[in-house]
């Protein structure tokens, strides 16, 4: 099986405090892995480090992404290589329309990959296709990036951008938090519709409900900066009924 992501002995800190204390994780092509864990376990730190957020320092370990040393790449290089992070708290960018934002993102990637930029007509077609796939209304693309969005709209916007950029590897960082049942269903349907045998993902969550909809191949429990248990969906069920304390670590 082809390995997409290989994390080995990863230690990372933020603001001088060590948060990841030796994470090991291997993800193969086509696999979806869930990472669960209590608050402060380091789940969001892991996604931040993988996406290359400034202010996080990797103190030890390595991360190989599709054969390349991920930790040496800038955030945009990681994006061009096919890594997508769905943010837990997407930031507002006033005055910048989603259309222009996505145009910048799509064409930056194409340029980096040595492809021609899309013509305005081609871009518009792509935009419309993805919007109709995710059942989004036309005026959405004219809105300013995340400005005045509800929690659910922000998450849908993340999934929409995921569809536009067609990544090979996604990290969904608590994409389910703050969503009601209907919004959760929409987001899960969106993710499932983008799923292909080539794509892999990490789903970070507190709860089982998103996992029931996404059916991950593996479930890992992150506690105090380490993966303390790995297994299948039965692990998620155990957490749901008995809590994180029931898992050693």
């Amino acid at each position: 099986m082809e390995t997409i992501l290989q994390i080995t002995g990863l230690h990372a800190s933020s603001g001088g405090k060590e948060i990841l204390k030796g994470v090991d994780l291997t993800i193969n092509k086509g696999e979806v892995h869930a990472i669960m864990g209590p608050n402060g376990a380091g789940k969001s730190t892991l996604s931040a480090v993988l996406a290359g957020r400034p202010d996080y320092e990797v103190t030890a370990g390595s991360v190989t992404f599709m054969g390349r040393n991920l930790l040496e790449m800038t955030p945009e290089e990681r994006a061009w290589a096919g890594l997508f992070l769905s943010f837990q708290y997407p930031v507002e960018i006033p005055g910048v329309s989603i259309t222009n934002f996505m145009k910048g993102a799509v064409n930056s990637k194409r340029k980096a990959l040595g492809q021609d930029e899309l013509t305005p007509a081609q871009f518009l077609k792509l935009l419309k296709d993805k919007m109709s796939m995710l059942k989004m209304k036309g005026e959405f693309a004219k809105r300013e990036v995340n400005v005045g969005f509800s929690g659910g709209e922000k998450k849908r916007n993340e999934i929409f951008q995921m569809a536009m950029l067609d990544p090979s590897f996604c990290i969904l960082d608590e994409t389910d938090s703050g969503l009601d049942v209907d919004a959760l269903k929409i987001v899960a349907d969106g993710v499932n519709s983008l799923r292909t045998p080539d794509k892999s993902a990490i789903v970070i969550t507190h709860y089982r409900r998103l996992l029931d909809l996404l059916r991950p191949d593996r479930v890992h429990i992150l506690k105090d900066g380490r993966i303390v248990r790995s297994g299948g969906m039965e692990l998620a069920e155990q957490i749901e009924t008995k809590g994180f304390d029931s898992v050693d670590g």
């Binding site: 994006a79 943010f87 006033p94 329309s97 934002f101 910048g104 993102a105 930056s108 305005p120």
Partner: protein, 485 residues
């Protein structure tokens, strides 16, 4: 990992593409300023006595005045007014007196300014066309589409021609909005102004195309003192654009213009500026000193809209203003001012409400980077007779890096208790979160800053005519927006 501060130089220190010099034979008057020089300028232009008298009166007033010092402009040097050449003009080619000199043609081509009509007439550019008055140092060298406009009764020509061909109009309106002694630089301009644009839109006429003036400084040691007069007669409308560039030089060059706009009853004027004078180098050497007086007068029901994008000049001292004299008249001021390196801008507006139910709106977006200083300065006055008048102002500042300054100096004077004035101001910066979000989506740091700055300025940029908006977006280091969105 690069942070915002490291990225800015790469984004904002773009090459000044317009910094070249045109090699052309020019004639000059001697350096310095005295009555003799003023008489020489006047006679070179073949002016009538009344205009010479106007100049001499202005000069005698100016001699008694002192330069204003209230601007937040610590780098504005003491100007030696005797060390400036007040008139420089390309020599006319005696073989082809009617045509534009090929070297000038080439210059304006390089700047992307259409000084010829051929392309459009041949249908090469199907887009809506723009009539241009191109001013090179002290003279207007070409005004396009005059015939097309004349069919509608619109006069669009150089100021000098207007003096010759429409003296009654010039005499009636000159200095009617900006009095000769209004301020130090306006008085100087009134004494030595050389050329500029003149525009008259007759009653009830909607100008069929955008009009524009393009100002180019070329000669060294000179100043440019242009004078623009726009008259929109009752019920007429026009959109007017102004652009400007200059060569890169280590010396400061003075640009002291006066623009007067008369908006008669129910007329509508939109005046847009993209100011891209040479800003000086990264060490703060050279650059244009842009000390400009622009003012419009609105009669009953008239509307005047100012939109400006200020990216150039070492020093900007500029307050496009509106006197809302007529009842029910309205005005807006939308501004983006970007300063970088050692640039200093002190810019804003005055909205003087005199008539009943007058309305004004001010939206100012300052962007400061490097070691620059960027100030908004404004006055909103509700006069005794401004019953039911309203003003709303919003002044935002974006600071990029910790070595620049962003300031807001508004003055609100309210003499009428039925009027309402609201003012708000905020400051912000580009957050690391915004930058990272863009990066994660594959947008590199430089592009991300451009995108965010452009978004910040969007409310103003979208008010510009299309050609200008594209130019302005490029100037704000952005190449993403445009055909879509």
């Amino acid at each position: 990992m690069k942070n915002v501060q490291d990225i800015i130089p790469a984004v904002t220190q773009h090459e000044y593409r317009e910094g070249f010099v045109t090699d052309i034979q020019q004639e000059f008057v001697p350096k310095g300023l005295n009555e003799e020089i003023i008489r020489t300028i006047s006679s070179l232009k073949g002016e009538p006595q009344w205009l010479l008298d106007f100049r001499l009166d202005a000069f005698s007033r100016w001699k008694k005045m002192t330069p204003p010092s209230w601007g937040h402009l610590s780098r504005l040097p003491k100007i030696d007014f005797q060390d400036i050449i007040y008139y420089a003009a390309p020599k006319k080619d005696s073989d082809r007196p009617k045509e534009i000199d090929p070297a000038l043609q080439e210059t304006f081509d390089k700047l992307g300014i259409p000084v010829g009509e051929r392309e459009v007439l041949a249908g090469v550019k199907p887009r809506e066309s723009v009539a241009v008055d191109a001013v090179f140092d002290s003279v207007s060298v070409s005004t396009t589409f005059r015939k097309t406009l004349a069919e509608k009764g619109i006069i669009f020509c150089s100021f000098s021609e207007a003096v010759r061909e429409h003296p009654e109009l010039v005499r009636k309106y000159l200095a009617s909005v900006v009095p000769v002694g209004d301020n130090f630089y306006a008085a100087l301009n009134s004494a030595v102004f050389s050329d500029g644009s003149f525009c008259y839109i007759p009653k009830g006429v909607k100008c069929p195309m955008d009009l524009s003036s393009y100002f180019r400084i070329n000669a060294s040691g000179t100043g440019q003192f242009e004078r623009t007069l726009i008259i929109a007669d009752e019920g007429s409308s026009v959109s007017y654009m102004e652009g400007c560039t200059a060569p890169m030089r280590d010396e400061n060059q003075l640009h002291a213009a006066v623009v007067e706009i008369i908006v008669e009853k129910d007329a509508d004027v939109r005046y847009s500026t993209v100011q891209n004078w040479y800003p000086g180098d990264a060490q703060g050497r050279g650059g244009i000193l842009n000390l400009v007086t622009k003012r419009g007068l609105c009669k009953e029901g008239a509307h005047l809209s100012w939109t400006q994008v200020e990216t150039g000049s070492a020093i900007t001292w500029k307050y496009p203003s509106t006197v809302l004299q007529g009842d029910g008249s309205t005005s807006e001021f939308y501004s983006v001012a970007l300063t970088n390196n050692w640039q200093q801008a002190d810019t804003g507006t005055k909205m003087i409400h005199l008539g009943r139910n007058t309305r004004s709106r001010i939206v100012s977006k300052g962007i400061s980077a490097g070691h620059s200083e960027n100030s908004y300065r404004g006055l909103v006055r509700m006069g005794k007779g401004a019953f039911g008048a309203r003003n709303f102002s919003r002044c935002d500042s974006l600071l990029i890096g910790s070595t620049c300054g962003a300031h807001t100096f508004p003055v609100i004077q309210n003499f009428n208790n039925t009027s309402l004035v609201e003012h708000e101001a905020t400051t912000s910066r580009i957050s690391e979160d915004q930058l990272f979000y863009c990066n994660q989506r594959g947008i590199g740091p430089e592009d991300a800053v451009g995108l965010i700055v452009n978004g910040y300025a969007r409310e103003v940029l979208q008010r510009l005519p299309m050609e200008f908006a594209v130019e302005a977006q490029k100037l704000l280091a952005v190449n993403l927006e445009g055909s879509v969105g």
